[in-house]
């Protein structure tokens, strides 16, 4: 137990380290370019005049006070880290005085709901498909059903999304074209609304699942084939075990380990794919907000989203790291 605690503490310290280093990079990037997107944005707004005019002074003051641009760089850096520690991501430029937290957290729910479900589903289905494909005693037809499916993994998710929109939503009209829910419906916890949300989620979900299944299946298939060569697989046969037990408890169980490690490595890619799929579907998640923010050059919202995503990936990696020893008993001993 002591060892395990030790291990968890170490992983957590590393999680903090990753977040700190990543935030520092994010802090440095704008300083390197020599440009100030915030000032430029303010200038642009000022030139346009109009509705924003009245708020502009207040905004500039808040901006000055919050970021203390007259102060030395390290003070700014410390302020930035301090805000980050409080999870305060700043104020939006385009929608002043709404805070970034306000804007981002609303859409975060949509993204997490969709991405969480879909990632787990794709991982499970893909791993199963790969396990069967890598099993020498599989029925012959499996090869012909799954192999074309694997090729789908080569197609980027957002392109698959476009094809699905065209075929299912546009041509056949079975499902809605875009959005997270119908504009007419009221976001409350009624049955109708839940069904509406589910309908809108199907296509984006399928776009992601279809292409991710292949990815996981290919990895798992390779690991299954590697596992076949292990001595314990021959011994399992020599023990006269049932085929199903050898498959699940010996082959899949061992092939799964690198698969889980792989999950931690591609979290970043998963998030990126999701962001773009949301863009294609105008799904009201973090990807759509990001796109809007880019169009409006809303620097603080963009930065906030990047920080949130990095926190999410680092957090998920930390969780996987901590849970991994439950899957592989050898890790506890190695302790590093």
């Amino acid at each position: 137990m002591g060892v395990l605690n030790h291990f968890v503490v170490k992983r957590f310290l590393f999680f903090l380290f990753v977040v700190w280093l990543a935030s520092t990079v994010i802090f440095i990037i704008p300083r390197l370019s020599g440009q100030d997107p915030v000032k430029e944005k303010l200038l642009l707004e000022a030139q346009r005049g109009g509705a924003m005019q009245t708020g502009l002074d207040a905004m500039a003051k808040t901006y000055q006070k919050r970021f203390g641009l007259d102060q030395p760089l390290w003070t700014q850096y410390l302020n930035f880290l301090q805000d980050l520690a409080k999870l305060d991501l700043g104020v939006s430029i385009a929608f002043f005085p709404r805070t970034v937290n306000d804007i981002v957290f609303e859409s975060l729910m949509w993204t997490l709901g969709l991405m969480g479900t879909v990632t787990i589903l794709a991982f499970v289905l893909g791993t199963l498909a790969g396990a069967v494909l890598g099993w020498p005693r599989k029925p012959g037809w499996v090869q012909y059903i799954f192999m074309p499916l694997l090729t789908l993994s080569a197609i980027p998710q957002y392109l698959l999304a476009m094809i699905l929109i065209f075929l299912i939503a546009f041509k056949l009209g079975w499902l809605p074209l875009f959005g997270g829910y119908s504009p007419a419906s009221v976001p409350t916890l009624t049955f109708e609304f839940v069904v509406d949300v589910a309908k809108h989620a199907i296509l984006p979900a399928f776009a992601i699942i279809f292409s991710a299944i292949g990815f996981w299946a290919i990895g798992m298939r390779g690991m299954m084939i590697n596992t076949q060569g292990e001595d314990y697989m021959i011994q399992a046969d020599a023990k006269g075990l049932k085929g199903s037990r050898i498959f699940m408890r010996y082959a899949v169980r061992n092939a799964l380990l690198p698969q889980v490690t792989g999950l931690a490595l591609v979290l970043g890619t998963i998030v990126t794919g999701q962001v773009l799929v949301e863009r294609v579907f105008s799904y009201p998640g973090i990807g759509d907000i990001l796109f809007q923010a880019i169009r409006l050059s809303d620097f603080f919202v963009i930065r906030g989203i990047v920080i949130i995503i990095i926190l999410g990936i680092a957090g998920a990696t930390f969780l996987l790291d901590v849970l991994y020893p439950l899957l592989d008993p050898r890790i506890k001993v190695r302790n590093s």
């Binding site: 060892v3 302790n335 590093s336």
Partner: protein, 353 residues
Amino acid sequence: MSTFLELDHVTKTFGSEGMFGNGQITVAVDDVSISIDEDEASITTVAGESGSGKTTLSRLLLGSHVPSDGRMLYRGKDFTKLTNRERRNFRREIQPIFQDPFESYNPFYKVDHVLDAPIKNFKLASSDREKKQMIEDALEMVGLLPGETLGRFPHQLSGGQRQRIMVARALLLKPRVILADEPVSMVDASLRATILDSIRRLNRDLGISVVYVTHDLTTAYQISDNLMIMYRGAVVEAGTVDQVIPNPQHPYTKLLIESIPQPDPKNRWGSEPPQQNWDTSDTDIAGCRFADRCPAVMDTCRTTVPAQYLINKHQMTRCFLHEEKGVMENPNITSTFQTESETIKAIPADMSI
């Protein structure tokens, strides 16, 4: 006579200490003093089971490991203080032959590569003609026909051929010492003879000293002059092979020799010996490391580390059963390997502590 390489009270520990370590320390080599002489070529066997420290000892001699405690001296000079040039000389003068002859070859190249590389790196040949001649001579020395071996990939040769090319490679560098780490344990019995024979020829004909690291006392008995038995990092018994094999004094050596499966159906094993207890970590053991398996264990064995007791001038052991023989005056184990003419003094038992 001059000393080529000397280990002076060398200890090598592995393990993690400090903030993130788990505090487990393995003592792989425990206070070993040996030397290899330059003028008098001999074959010395370092024997022991896995975990005995014999491989660590060989890596220390190769300079691949640095002692945790004690000093290694190359031609009398501290190994850590060598100049680049001296270090380069050292690299050439002690050459290894590893256990798995297949893994010693880069699968990308033909076997010629392992023979070319040392000649080129140490600039041993002034022309290609000379290089070719050197390679062919070396191959013939180990009983291989250059036409049948050169220009092939390692997988196209037998295990015996591969290992003999390794001997030839070592030979090319004109080393003072060859360190053979289990050179025949992965080769079929019928092919072992040729490899061991070529190693023995290097020693006899070319005057190269050989350190033969093995777990196999039978081949050790056949080819070596001297023998060191290691157990959990310590040299528990050492001496000339003709002295130690017929008259083992340490209970562990006795057990080891008894356990060798002799190819003689009429001479079978006795009863089953007790198992080793790995529960105790190296740092926990206060006394003799063999105490928990020893049939002759005494109270002192569990509390005090036995010293090196000199049985006679050709044999020493670290066992309290021989305490009355007195502690070796010269801690260097290899002093027991000396020939008849030289005498070795022991300090009488009552003066030792």
